[in-house]
Subunit: 255 residues, 2 copies
């Protein structure tokens, strides 16, 4: 009964998100359906990050246990043969039976892509939030770092969450250095866990600051308020990518 | 009656190509429909490259004449407001009434994208031909340069063309230098004109050479044969991008 850890990339545009639900096509559901064709009966798949509808992944991690002992490259090939091209298994490894993709994750890193120019290139329309107009990048950079550390992030949590605590430790939060001639703006955040819509609410707040509607320090006051209505709007799902999951020991993969 | 030259980027996935036809949605048709809403009646649009179904553009050039004198930024904004997000006008300029996007083009450059790895990333599935397995890049590089110069390219022309001559002058033909750690392989070709499916037939032949089924010199023999059945298969449309059109004077835009 080997347990496998797989790494996945997916274009979330056409899916309801990671988690299987009563209706709609989920990434978890696609994997479980593909594994059923292996002939070992129903196989439950756990994922590291429960990405929302429309959110993408460069390196999501999932785990499951098979009855048969299959070589890892056969697992990769057989899953990719059954999955749609929008979902690809990029690697597989055999791990101890105790491994759980979600509970064992020490940290996850998300990247949010924004396009800051008048015209959004057609090839970015599903993968970047179009934010035209001047943005104060220095203010956004300063604000981004202000949420690093352990905080109660209730102000950045959407309704409908059922988590025990909204305290999370953000290891790094920054506007990535990009080519200054590029219109692409990247926000990257690593934390031990994320609340529902947390990254998107942070990005919506950073854009408020970038537009000069709020000073950088405002984001610290929003955190302190623990009031969702204090934060900026939730940025659209299409700009968000789960880019790595860290299980300790090895460094997170460079996507 | 000002004449406008516009530059366009488009994701060709869902379209029948540049040229308006009896059925299906074309890029030319989308532009002409958008211009009709300007209230100047039917406006004919000429395009520099008649890209096929599924072929993309980073910088296609088109021209048309309006009755009213509109500022160029108003033309860009009004067209983009009416066009789908998959088609974007990136710039506009007023040009002499004699300008014709197709007949005045001195050279066009196409790029073909190939993904040379076992797994095709989901974000490349509409924009790169998936060619797994070992490829001899040095052989492909040498073969690519062998088609530079003026030749009769009848061997790389699909049936159904009605051009007066199949002689074209290829200024440069090369496998672009890429990050050696990347699986992305780029082929770029600049010529004074292209025959139907010419770039895709060249790429199909280069892949035959990369796979070791033919030596690099074979491509010169294919050119000399002027026989379509001598060349490799036509590579799929989805990897092909029209990246610049040169009208002399100014350098082609870096896409």
């Amino acid at each position: 009964m080997p347990t496998y850890k797989i790494t996945l990339a997916y274009d979330g545009t056409d899916y309801i998100g990671w988690q299987r639900q009563a209706t709609g096509t989920s990434i978890q559901g696609l994997l479980e359906d593909a594994l059923r064709e292996f002939g070992d009966g129903d196989i439950a798949v756990s994922g590291a990050g429960r990405t929302d509808a429309g959110v993408h992944a460069l390196a999501q991690v999932a785990s499951f246990t098979l009855v048969r002992d299959l070589p890892t490259d056969a697992v990769v090939r057989a899953l990719n043969a059954k999955l749609p091209e929008a979902v690809r298994v990029t690697s597989a490894a055999v791990v101890p039976a105790s491994f759980h993709a979600r509970f064992d994750a020490r940290a996850k890193t998300y990247r949010y892509r924004l396009w800051n120019d008048e015209v959004l290139p057609p090839f970015e329309r599903r993968y970047a939030w179009h934010v035209p107009g001047a943005l104060d990048l220095d203010a956004m950079r300063r604000a981004a770092t202000l949420i690093e550390g352990e905080h109660d992030f209730a102000a950045f949590q959407s309704a409908g969450s059922d988590v025990a605590t909204s305290v999370r430790r953000v290891a790094t939060s920054r506007i990535a250095e990009c080519d200054p001639h590029s219109s692409l703006l990247l926000y990257e955040v690593t934390a031990d866990g994320f609340l529902r819509h947390m990254v998107r609410a942070i990005v919506g707040s950073l854009v408020e600051i970038g537009r000069g509607r709020q000073p950088p320090e405002w984001i610290a006051r929003v955190v302190a308020s623990r009031d969702r209505s204090a934060a900026g709007r939730t940025a659209p799902a299409l700009g968000l990518f789960l880019i790595s999951v860290d299980y300790g020991g090895a460094r997170p993969a460079e996507p």
